[in-house]
């Protein structure tokens, strides 16, 4: 009951004209970011983060989270019209979305995609509203050992559940942790790993890493592919929208299943991309028209879009309630909290009620605004994509540079951005996952602090991580996630052995 009251307070905050304006600005910027190659949710938010330094935290998070929703919506436009996924999580949308556009049903495909995104997000927001306060209340009792166990679980799920080779994930993640450790050690006040360079005193800022790895790296990949856009015309009119809406309730089962998959994958840091593929795969297997998937089935658009958006939204649940972001973009938002002087974690729900519930309320309204904006402005966004890459690329480069500079007003950061960009390009081509590295840079200090505090309490004994039922079971879950591929293959082998 208390939550409902809080939520209404949140709506009151969000409905201030200034915040509504920020919401529209955020959605518009977000869709543009989602549509443009080389600008994604994570680095788009990272670049625009400095713009919010002067705002109140609540207004800032409203604008930034709306950029995120916008980017989630925007990915679908390029997938359907141009067969180019603007974001990795919209790859699965191209399978049926683009064939629909080729058959002249671009309007139907876009309407289905946007509406499914909206449904997925709404489902996840309702879940967050109900679950996040409980998780936060529960997490308030966590000591350092439990906190470290939660980090351990988050990072282990990356290794075990990711589709990249596990050792590459470990390497990438540990490099992220190591970069986070450079500079001042917050616990002893000692300098470390700077090797005498004053530039490294403050360590590596994850925002620079995000802008470099995702922004510059992505542009380099796009240049290598030599992209040329050949799009389909985008026609959306109210008749098509209404007609599609009448058709959509037929796929309620697919939709509901995709919502659940999305929420689950979003909370565990697997993220939106695997969620969309998984949802598409399951829909294909269970649907009556499964064999027609890939030729332009509307259900093949509904499934991945719902799951991707649900996962993208659900990723904010652990970020808000535990201080562990479920996706790179959530990690950037979490970094924003730190910059605005807020301590992410369960205490937010106690100390920063206005902020938390303002954010949750803005998720409801932001997605409604998002749906309206994308349904009405598709031709405009499609036109942006027709601007040649040789104009877009330098503008994105400049935006990345400005974003990198404004984080600390340091031109050295702009150089680091380019270094990260080249590294990101090579690592991505070698199939190293970048998300764990970014998350490790963000969470490195906190994970280390929790780890060292736990050891301090136990005088160095690692037994502290299994000292009570709670911490022991979280650690055990983490170990299961870590060795999941092994467990799975052993299980199938055992089953085959017994069957034979």
């Amino acid at each position: 009951m208390e939550e409902i009251v809080n939520l209404f307070h949140g709506f009151a905050v969000v409905l201030q004209p200034y915040n509504i304006m920020l919401m529209f600005v955020g959605i518009l910027l977000g869709v543009i970011i989602g549509v443009l190659p080389g600008l994604g949710g994570a680095n788009g938010v990272a670049i625009l983060l400095p713009l919010t330094f002067g705002m109140s935290p609540t207004s800032a998070i409203i604008m930034l989270s709306c950029i995120y929703w916008g980017a989630l919506f925007g990915g679908a436009i390029t997938s359907i019209l141009f067969n180019i996924p603007g974001e990795p999580w919209s790859v699965a949308t191209t399978f049926d979305g683009h064939p629909m556009a080729q058959k002249g049903q671009a309007g139907e495909a876009l309407t289905a995609a946007f509406t499914s995104s909206f449904v997925g997000a709404l489902f996840a927001v309702i879940m967050i509203t109900l679950v996040a306060p409980l998780v936060a209340k529960f997490a308030l009792q966590f000591g350092p050992a439990e906190k470290f166990a939660v980090f351990f679980l988050a990072f282990c799920s990356f290794i075990g559940m990711g589709k990249e080779p596990p050792f590459k994930t470990v390497a990438s993640m540990m490099i992220g942790f190591a970069l986070a450790a450079v500079g001042l050690d917050s616990m002893t006040g000692q300098l470390r790993l700077t090797f005498g360079f004053t530039e490294f005193l403050n360590g590596f800022d994850f925002l620079i890493a995000v802008i470099g790895l995702f922004g510059i790296g992505e542009i380099l990949l796009t240049m290598e592919e030599g992209l040329s856009f050949k799009g389909r015309a985008a026609g959306i009119n109210p008749r098509v929208v209404l007609q599609t809406w009448r058709e959509l309730p037929r796929y309620w089962a697919t939709s509901l299943r995709s919502c659940v998959i999305g929420c689950w994958m979003g909370i565990s840091p697997a993220g939106a991309t695997p969620a969309s593929f998984m949802s598409y795969g399951i829909a294909k297997r269970t649907s009556k028209n499964g064999d027609k998937f890939g030729t332009g089935e509307i259900e093949g658009v509904v499934a991945p879009e719902t799951a991707a958006h649900a996962a993208g939204t659900a990723a904010l649940l652990p970020m808000l309630s535990l201080g562990v972001p479920g996706s790179p973009t959530a990690a950037v938002l979490l970094g924003g909290l730190l910059i605005w002087g807020l301590q992410p974690g369960p205490l937010l729900f106690v100390e920063q009620k206005e902020f938390v519930w303002g954010l949750i309320a803005s998720m409801y309204l932001g997605n409604i605004v998002g749906l309206i904006v994308v349904l009405t402005c598709v031709p405009l966004f499609a036109a942006i994509l027709r601007i040649p890459f040789s104009i877009i690329a330098p503008i994105i480069l400049v935006m990345c540079a400005i974003g990198a500079y404004t984080v600390h007003n340091s031109t050295f950061d702009v150089v680091m951005m380019l270094v990260f960009g080249v590294i990101g390009y090579v690592l991505k081509k070698c199939n190293y996952p970048l998300a764990p590295m970014v998350l490790a840079i963000v969470l490195g200090d906190k994970a280390e602090e929790a780890f060292r505090q736990s050891l301090l309490g136990s005088q160095g004994g690692l037994g502290v991580f299994f000292s009570n039922g709670l911490v022991g079971s979280i650690m055990a879950l983490g170990l299961i996630a870590l060795f999941w591929p092994l467990i799975q293959s052993t299980w199938t082998r055992l089953r085959l052995a017994t069957a034979a």
Partner: protein, 166 residues
Amino acid sequence: MTDTPHAAASGPRHRAVELGAAIAMIVFGALIMYGSLQVGIGWGAEGPKSGFFPFYLGVLIILSSVMNLVTATTQDPRQIFADWSQLMSVLSVVVPTAIYVVAVPWVGIYAASLVLIAVFMMWLGRYGIAMSAAVSIGVTIATYLMFEKWFLVPLPKGPIEDFFGL
């Protein structure tokens, strides 16, 4: 990104790049371990010393990179990383951007951005002077208004901005 091995095209081998990346990471891990040893990895007055946590990160980086190194040696040696023409287009972004980031502290971000956009358009996009000038000047002015005037975020400026008294 395509992973299809096209043996006909020439370019650096994918395996060589993988091996190089793994070796670079091993060196990085060793550096982290060395730096951690410098500040102490044992138990001090206030609990674990500063180098304690990073030292084991270094160990993990080296162990996982050795595994990646071993995996990389089993890869198809004919597969290429990218052919030379693709790498040239990548370099055509990296080199101007490198000059750009070095120039920013000296000439300010606005002048550097204007030149970057114009050069990019004329060189890679083969646009005329008029079009390139229009876009680059327009974007620069829009950036100025958005950051300095609207969001009140000052960006680095150089002699040209001083001359205009901005």
